[in-house]
């Protein structure tokens, strides 16, 4: 049977989710295999090497670099406090001495007689990693981190900003076509992940930040409004480190685009449950899409999920979404996948799929289709 490989976003109502929680440098893992965790539990920690300050002692004392060692009061490996004298000249008959003090608390790491520099390293910076989602420790990676397993809902968005967040899921619109407007964001939303339909305006999103809403999940947002939020023009879609209270996930893209039925219905069914989300997006080789995870308890699981095999790709009958103009955002069913190249209006020769949209058969380049992966 003809098929095509096309990237798809996952919208899964029950699946097993694995999350790797890894330290940036080796450290200590605080949990054991099998332990149950909640999102705020610390699972691993380490100390990053402290910042480094370089002090040009030769310059400050106006001496030759090879004389620096003689002028040093403190030696390599000694701890020093801010303001403490670390080097001094002999002066003239013990008078007219000049000295250098430590600019920070730290340890003298290197004294160089080639450059006259003294390197002071500040105290280590502690780093902790939490569990992010509820679940249990599936695997411990010694000295590096853990893999947490959970069962529940897993939804991928197309683009997001700001990193991890968590809170109670709250669907605040009636339908997937409805926009989130400013008046819908109320103090009630504080600490929650709010779900909307097709769009959120800049004003409404700013109000969400102001009211400390944990996150927003919505169909679309204006690209040009991102600048107002980020303070710069987003040139490449690599996000996650923005310092924002309210994470944002778009399920469809830029502009007003109604949220996919499956996505909206699934989120609506879990209104009120506790969810974790991550807006971090990286669209490069090694793509990272933003995600919403709703861990479910044993009694909430129906056990009716089947592992879908996305590697089969698009086939006749697959449900797909068009991801580029002129039919952007429309969903349809694949009728046929002709093997020969077809000429588009742009005169580009491409492989196409014939899609049924609202009872009409339309030719669309396969590259402009996204498989909707549901379970």
């Amino acid at each position: 049977m003809a098929h095509a490989y096309t990237p798809g976003l996952k919208v899964l109502h029950e699946t097993i989710i694995h999350k790797e929680r890894r330290l940036p440098l080796k450290g200590i893992v605080l949990v054991e295999n099998g332990k149950e965790v909640t999102p705020d539990d610390i699972v691993a920690k380490t100390d990053l090497p402290g910042n480094v300050q370089m002090v040009n002692v030769a310059n400050q004392l106006n001496i030759d670099t090879e004389d620096v060692n003689d002028a040093m009061i403190t030696k390599e490996g000694t701890a020093v406090s801010k303001g403490e004298m670390i080097a001094e000249t002999k002066g003239l008959f013990g008078l007219f001495k000049t000295n250098v003090t430590a600019p920070v608390d730290g340890t003298i790491e290197v004294i160089s007689d080639t450059t006259g520099q003294v390197v002071i390293r500040e105290s280590p910076i502690p780093v902790e990693i939490d569990a992010y989602m509820s679940g249990f420790i599936k695997e411990v990676i010694p000295e590096e981190g853990v893999i947490i397993e959970s069962e529940g809902v897993f939804i991928q968005g197309i683009f997001g900003i700001a990193g991890e967040s968590r809170g109670e899921l709250s669907v605040i619109v009636d339908s997937r076509e409805t926009e989130i407007t400013e008046d819908m964001i109320t103090p009630d939303c504080k600490g929650k992940i709010v779900v909307g339909g097709s769009f959120i305006s800049l004003k409404a999103y700013k109000k969400a930040i102001q009211l400390k809403v944990a996150g927003v999940v919505v169909g679309g947002f204006n690209y040009f409004d991102l600048e107002d939020i980020l303070g710069y023009t987003l040139g490449v879609a690599i996000t996650g480190s923005e310092d924002l209270i309210t994470s944002l996930i778009l399920t469809e893209g830029y502009g007003k685009i109604r949220m996919g039925t499956q996505t909206f219905d699934l989120l609506k069914n879990h209104h009120g449950k506790f969810a974790s989300m991550n807006g971090a997006t990286q669209i490069r080789a090694g793509v990272i899409r933003p995600e919403i995870v709703i861990p479910l308890t044993k009694d909430q699981l129906k056990g009716d999920h089947k592992d879908s095999d996305a590697s089969e790709g698009i086939q006749a009958g697959s449900l797909v979404r068009v991801i580029r103009a002129p039919y952007f955002g429309r969903m349809g069913k694949v009728i046929d996948l002709p093997s020969e190249l077809r000429k588009m209006e742009s005169e580009t020769m491409v492989r196409v799929a014939i899609i049924e949209i609202d009872g009409e058969n339309i030719e669309i380049p396969r590259a402009n289709l996204e498989m909707v992966e549901i379970d």
Binding site: T114, A237, Y254, P326, S346, A367
Partner: protein, 609 residues
Amino acid sequence: MELRSILATDCGSTTTKAILIELMDGEYRLQVRGEAPTTVEAPFEDVTKGVLNAVMEVEELSGKKILNGDQIITPQNGSNGVDIYISTSSAGGGLQMMVAGVVKGMTGESAERAALGAGSIVMDVLASNDGRKPHEKITRIRQLRPDMILLSGGIDGGTTKHVVELAEILAAANPKPRLGQNYKLPVIYAGNNKAVNKIEETLGEITDLDVTENIRPVLEMENLKPSRDKIHDLFMEHVMQQAPGYKKLMSWTDAPIMPTPGAVGALIEMVAQKENISVVGVDIGGATTDIFSVFQKQFNRTVSANLGMSYSICNVLAEATLANVLRWVPFDIDEKELTNRIGNKMIRPTTVPQSLEELVIEQAIAREALRLSFIQHKSFAVNLKGVQKERTISDAFEQTDSGETLVDMKELDLLVGSGGVLSHAPRREQSARMLIDSFLPEGITQLAVDSIFMMPQLGVMANIEKEELSEEAKKAAFEVFEKDCLIHLGTCIAPTGKAKQNLVVLTAELTLKNGNQETHKIQFGELLRIEVPFEPVNIKLTPGKGLDIGSGKNEPIETTIYGGVVGIIFDGRGRPLDISKDPKQRIDDLKKWSDAVNEYPNFNQNSNS
């Protein structure tokens, strides 16, 4: 040794491309090409799987047996197998380097040139005078986690203090390599030879230090080759060893694997040398645009890291501004809708333009990405800075200085474009227009595109060092480059200077191969295309008053040029090119120029009707 067949692959970050070259009737020709998705990432995590898939496609298309299970059959045995197998790679983000030099504009720049020339992405240039405090530099080194560092500084025998200071900063940062936690970061030292002991003392323990010849032994001379070679060696020894499946791939190849842009650069450098011409080559990709040039026998490469057609398309919009993109769009469009559309291309980078309107917008953005990348290239491809020049009395009146750009558009003989938007444009006329509008060639310039992006494979082929293979491989690379790789678009002829509207800026008298003679008068603001295939045309060009066609103001030229699939394009729009700020006039001009070369015939029909 006679080579009967060559298999070459290029492992890109998304696609692995394989080509098969065979000796047919005494000449090397491309037989077939196959491709498959690259398999560096999960779930496969083995680059050789993608290579085998691409080679299997080559097998299917050529009917030739190349694989024996998971092994490439070398040398050729009867009709099975190939004599040699070679490869390039840019998978896993390519080679990412950080370079350091004492003075940013001198050793810093030389180090950057060496790293770029070797095919790496330069993440940052550290210098004693870059304005950053030591702790800021340290934080930056830690954040970036490069694959390799090139440290230079000072002329041989000169002062050692500053370069040792840079080494101390590196030591304090104690950088970790990007891939793999269990090996030391490779550092190449190519600075003042007097400082070698001190550098070894400072960095020898904590890094994998390699010392090579000074990149700037004296102020007046750059010595980049030893550093470039060392980068290639370490790329193979360290970086590639960490990437999944590369150890196996390296055991298959008959020559070292080269970073993709390094191979393209090597090929362009050799072509320029062989033909004794000035060349500019451009590769516009999804994330980056690479420009290579050879002027006055000097090779330069730049990478505009965030000017590309998909992943970084929004950055093109940000850097070029919407107004500059719209300059090339021959219809009115809602600006907010346009930015959302471009944003959606960024987050769904693999989509293709289905409607003509989408194609026109994409090609407008490509013009700006190319224009900005070329500006960056021109400011980097310069004479050595800091060199004292002997001046005569006449020079003293000219304000020329060291550090002036080597790029002289009047000198440029050949402009080669590659990358999806140029190589796969539905009409070659569109590729020619994009090249002309963004590079603005002056005088007489031949235009070409690399049809299926074969330059990386040909580059590594031309660079094989094994003595018994080198000569034949080079011959094969050049023959295939000339006959199968390049699609000759034609020649652009553009007088420089300004004139009044409708005034004749150029008179061209052509004698075609069949003996026919034609005369054309080109007016200011006009674009004229003459359809002539890739064959010699004798031409006499007489510029209008005050204008220059390459040999000075008002001076005529008689020469031989070549047509191509597009033909000869006379560009009478003047240099620099001004596009009207009045929207109606701009749209009229754009349509007129499009019609002249038959760029978007359907669009013009639609919009006129």
